[in-house]
Symmetry: C2
Subunit: 277 residues, 2 copies
């Protein structure tokens, strides 16, 4: 089988590496000529091709592009009269799902979200094993042909992922809670420290593992994350309001010197422990 990768960055590149390990031929396309060249140099994809060549030659095409262009790229591919299964791997689903719901070839498309990533981006960020033992969400499967869904599910299972099914609406709410708010929390932590702690040497000297792990996501690419927040704005705002409210509870308890309440808040927060991977 020949697999096409559209978008050879962190996700597309890592997916290409995983699929190559299964023995498939992997051909890549990227709107950025320099990214595509780099993906070939790094041997992430075996060769570069145009979008129309991918549509003609591949049995499966994985669309791994930013959320603000994914609907357009999927539509272009479907319009090319390809017989390939199109799977897309972007981080939000609501806008995309609505945009393509009534497309005459919608059943050729499978919406997926592999819950894996790092704070890095581009072909150089692609890593072996990124998806292993993680979960992929398959969204709105009632709109995809069963044999297409089955093909996509199989390739995810073959690269070591668990598959769960979910509609696009609850998916977008869940990811606001378990991914998007973590990024805002981390970006804000970085800005707080950078704005107040003018002595950069102090950050470097004193930042221990705790600060590094909570601020790590602040290295993430704004070009990736700005469209994600735009597409999932309403859910992200709900979660952000709740997060600010919880922080305000800590603040009130501190102001009142109510350390029983501070203790109680932390004890309740401890319940997350067994749920973390």
């Amino acid at each position: 089988m020949t697999v096409g990768i559209v978008g050879t960055g962190l996700i597309g590149g890592s997916f290409a590496l995983a699929v190559k390990e299964l023995g498939y031929t992997v051909v890549g396309y990227d709107a950025s000529a320099s990214h595509l060249k780099r993906a070939v140099e790094l041997n992430i994809v075996e060769s570069a091709a145009s979008l129309s060549k991918l549509a003609k030659e591949c049995e499966l095409i994985a669309v791994c592009v930013p959320v603000d262009v994914v609907a357009n790229v999927c539509e272009q591919l479907l319009t090319m009269q390809t017989s390939a299964t199109i799977m897309e791997l972007s981080s939000t689903k609501g806008v995309l799902a609505k945009a393509l719901r009534n497309h005459p070839k919608r059943d050729q498309l499978v919406l997926t979200h592999p819950m894996a990533g790092t704070e890095f981006s581009g072909p150089d960020a692609a890593v072996h094993g990124l998806f292993k033992d993680k979960t992929t969400v398959l969204c709105d499967l009632e709109y995809s042909a069963p044999e297409r869904s089955q093909q996509v599910r199989k390739i995810y299972e073959d690269i070591g992922m668990r598959c769960v099914e979910q509609s696009s609406e609850p998916h977008d709410l869940h990811v606001a809670y378990v991914s998007h708010i973590s990024h805002i929390s981390s970006f804000a932590l970085s800005l707080t420290v950078l704005e107040k702690e003018k002595d950069e040497a102090q950050i470097f000297n004193l930042a221990s593992g705790g600060f590094a792990s909570t601020a790590r996501l602040a290295k993430s690419n704004p070009d990736t994350w700005s469209p994600i927040f735009a597409q999932n704005r309403d859910h992200v705002l709900d979660v952000l309001d709740e997060y600010i409210n919880v922080l305000a509870s800590f603040r009130t308890a501190l102001i009142k010197n109510n350390f029983d309440e501070v203790h109680a808040l932390m004890s309740r927060a401890n319940a997350i422990g067994p749920l973390l991977p």
Copy 2:
């Protein structure tokens, strides 16, 4: 040299393990009889002793107890007419420094804060190599006898740490920025998700590395952290207010659909990258 460890939890236990590797004899005391028994069982300390026995037999005593009792323990030890150097390793310094500033034997005491830790606590949390390649802050050295400071600096360097000097006031402000706010951010993230995401299976399924790393500190022990926040309340409140303000900037930009501003905030936050360990 015989080194005494008062408090055989995460920090005391890990310090004991590091010092044992230097070939010193390590004797332990803990106010919790079960912790002390466990520390001996785990071979973290070679034997258990009373506080007064430690004071009599050790050349160096490391006080590794919660911040709300550290001043009292240091005072007890100094009162015991020991010739030992007393070093303490707690997380905040202002209250302690003031409490003991005029003690007649203050020059026997060295205030330190090794910037290392994990989200776990107790003797079972003690780990080899916790301090290696990390930074220790030596505080208010003008109040310690030079030979005592030198002895403490040497043992930190011998276990692989960098030493920096700082007064207790700026120390407490810096740690509010590079440690305490990270913990509140993480506790609050956990509570936000737990309160809204009632379906625990979703958390477990979907929580990827990003969420896990930002929420990891929410496993931390409230018994350790409540007194830290109490002792450093004013600095923590300043930083928490700033953090909430930054989050409010994200919120305002999202509400106004101003994604150029969202992008700009994230781009500025990216500057933390090269400063992280």
